[in-house]
């Protein structure tokens, strides 16, 4: 029974469910689901570094922010269509990650983390100050929605709101990106990354150019964070400097840890959990950060593998109980 459940095409089912949200849920739920999806992609991109390569970045929001500004500026100021402005977010964020990463991978562990943070603060400062291009402190409101006229002609979908159309597009694009990331971590490249996480010294002695692989991982992670950012600016109806601020970096890191780094579906789960918790608890208490901190500490002590690790343990127990 459990094995049959294990073999179900879960990712496809989740995508199908996600596509149904606007039809069955309220506008608010669609909004929430859109938020979760984008953060799920953002957190999964970070997991490539933290969970698979063993590199902890404190500045991953830099690439999210760069992606958001790229798509935002291209669509709003230059009227570039989404089909170009969206991939451009990945390309620009990836290029920035290439430049910053070149320096970061030369340092080890905690210094690596500090330098990623430093670069992210530089990106934030540029977004904050460069009024002509980024809109400075005020940010850049009213990023247009992509033109999705083709959706109007589809049955069922045609009558939905523009924001729902954008949500459906997000589902498809995030699914595509997660699929690509899934292939990457299950590839020979992904295996080499895990050897670096496990033992960089030994990895060198099986012929792995550790720095080069770390840099490639950094660029790939940055590019996907940029894509998430590109979507987020449109979803948020505006791009603001705090997209690149350190609080965003720590939020995505918390999602990754909460969900369980090193397991592929952990970070998306973490994004879901954190956003829902936030939604629930904020309406009851102003002490949300305190509650979150407590939950995190308990979780990480009881289940070092995060939510995904906990789910794994529970399902194995269940399987054993069912077999007995």
């Amino acid at each position: 029974m459990m094995t049959r459940l294990g073999r179900a095409p879960w990712p496809l089912l989740v995508v199908a469910l996600a596509l149904l949200v606007p039809a069955v849920g309220s506008r608010f739920y669609t909004f929430l689901a859109n938020d979760v999806l984008i953060w799920a992609l953002f957190a999964t991109s970070l997991n490539l570094l933290v969970g698979y390569t063993g590199l902890v970045s404190f500045g991953h929001a830099a690439y999210f922010g760069i992606g958001a500004y790229t798509t935002g500026i291209l669509m709003k100021k230059l009227a570039v269509p989404f089909v170009l402005a969206f991939p451009a977010a990945g390309i620009f964020a990836g290029l920035a990650a290439l430049v910053f990463g070149f320096f970061c991978v030369r340092l080890t562990r905690i210094y690596f983390a500090m330098l990623t943070l430093a670069f992210a603060q530089i990106v934030w400062a540029i977004c904050f100050k460069w009024n002509e291009v980024t809109g400075g402190e005020q940010g850049m409101p009213e990023i247009p929605y992509p033109a999705l006229d083709w959706m109007d002609r589809l049955p069922w979908v045609g009558d939905l709101r523009t924001s729902d159309h954008f949500y459906l597009l997000t589902v498809l694009l995030v699914a595509l990106c997660l699929w690509a990331l899934r292939r990457i971590v299950g590839s020979p490249f992904g295996r080499i990354l895990t050897t670096i996480r496990e033992n960089p010294e030994r990895a060198e002695f099986i012929g792995v150019n550790v720095r080069r692989y770390e840099l490639i991982a950094f660029v790939v992670a940055g590019a996907f964070a940029g894509l998430a950012g590109g979507l987020f600016g449109i979803f948020n109806r505006g791009v603001f400097p705090d997209f690149a601020y350190w609080t965003k970096s720590s939020e995505v890191l918390i999602m990754t840890l909460l969900g369980g780094m090193g397991t592929f579906y952990g970070p998306p789960l973490g994004a879901l959990a954190l956003i829902l918790l936030n939604q629930q608890i904020v309406s009851y208490t102003e002490y949300w950060p305190f509650v979150l901190g407590t939950i995190l500490v308990v979780l990480l002590f009881v289940f070092p593998g995060g939510l995904a690790g906990a789910a794994g343990i529970v399902s194995r127990r269940l399987a054993r109980a069912l077999r007995a």
Binding site: R183, G186, F189, R191, T194, E204, I206, G207
Partner: protein, 246 residues
């Protein structure tokens, strides 16, 4: 095959390797012996690129490899194992060896291929030859010490080296395990036509398989030659008098 000329390394003024010249001919089984702290591991680190020598040169197959990074040295055909076990603990035994094949055969930058079955036969062949064929699926960090040492050897072999450097391949093993491991290493070396340079504390082991022996003491070579030459060297006898361990 390997020619090391006058390499030196000092740590904070302390000469760990104080000018060592040593050659290993193709197909030879050579050993470095010496008391604790003699500089054997440091010497290996200099040869494999893990440390950069303060002076001297390292030449592999006629090519100067002094100061190259370990991953380049590895690609040029040098495999090594470590005195203190050095594996990828959370990966399975299979994945440990498979990763070395992926890296060595230049598939590390395939982003979309599936990794699962890659180099399956080659990996199993290596695992069989080091005696881990039945442990492929186990998480390597949970293996016994002896098994981890075997795995260490397997990882080194998967880089398909011509020259194998083994730093105390039997460290921490029982007398029986040591004998078995040495026989295994000797067999693999002959089967694959490898050149072998190893360090070892167990004198019996060294004298039983090595064709050339170099004796290192306080960072210097004090003797070199065939086992019988080394055995009868007065300097070696003096250094080892009362220092024979285990």
């Amino acid at each position: 095959m390997l020619e090391v000329h006058n390499v030196r390394k000092a740590f904070d003024g302390f000469q760990a390797v104080a000018g060592v010249t040593l050659g290993v001919a193709r197909g030879q089984i050579a050993a470095i012996i010496g008391p604790n702290g003699a500089g054997k591991t440091t010497f290996f680190n200099l040869v494999t690129g893990h440390l950069r020598p303060d002076a001297g040169t390292v030449v592999l197959n006629g090519r100067d490899i002094t100061g190259l990074a370990p991953h380049d040295v590895c690609r040029l055909g040098m495999g090594r194992s470590f005195q203190r076990t050095n594996i990828f603990p959370k990966l399975t035994v299979f994945e440990n060896v498979q990763a070395a094949f992926i890296s060595h055969r230049g598939r590390g930058l395939s982003f979309f291929a599936r990794v699962e079955g890659l180099y399956r036969d080659e990996t199993y062949a290596v695992l069989e030859s080091v005696g881990l064929g039945d442990k492929a699926g186990e998480v390597s960090g949970f293996l016994s010490h002896g098994n981890q040492k075997q795995l260490e050897l397997g990882i080194a072999l998967a880089s398909e080296p011509d020259l194998l450097l083994l730093d105390e391949p039997t460290a921490g093993m029982s007398a029986t395990e040591t004998r078995e491991t040495i026989r295994l290493i000797e067999r693999i070396t002959r089967e694959r036509g490898l050149t072998l340079l190893f360090t070892e504390h167990d004198m019996e082991v060294v004298f039983s398989i090595a064709q050339r022996i170099s004796v290192l003491h306080q960072g210097r070579l004090i003797a070199e030659g065939t086992p019988s030459e080394v055995r009868n060297d007065p300097e070696v006898r003096r250094v080892y008098l009362g220092e024979r361990r285990r």
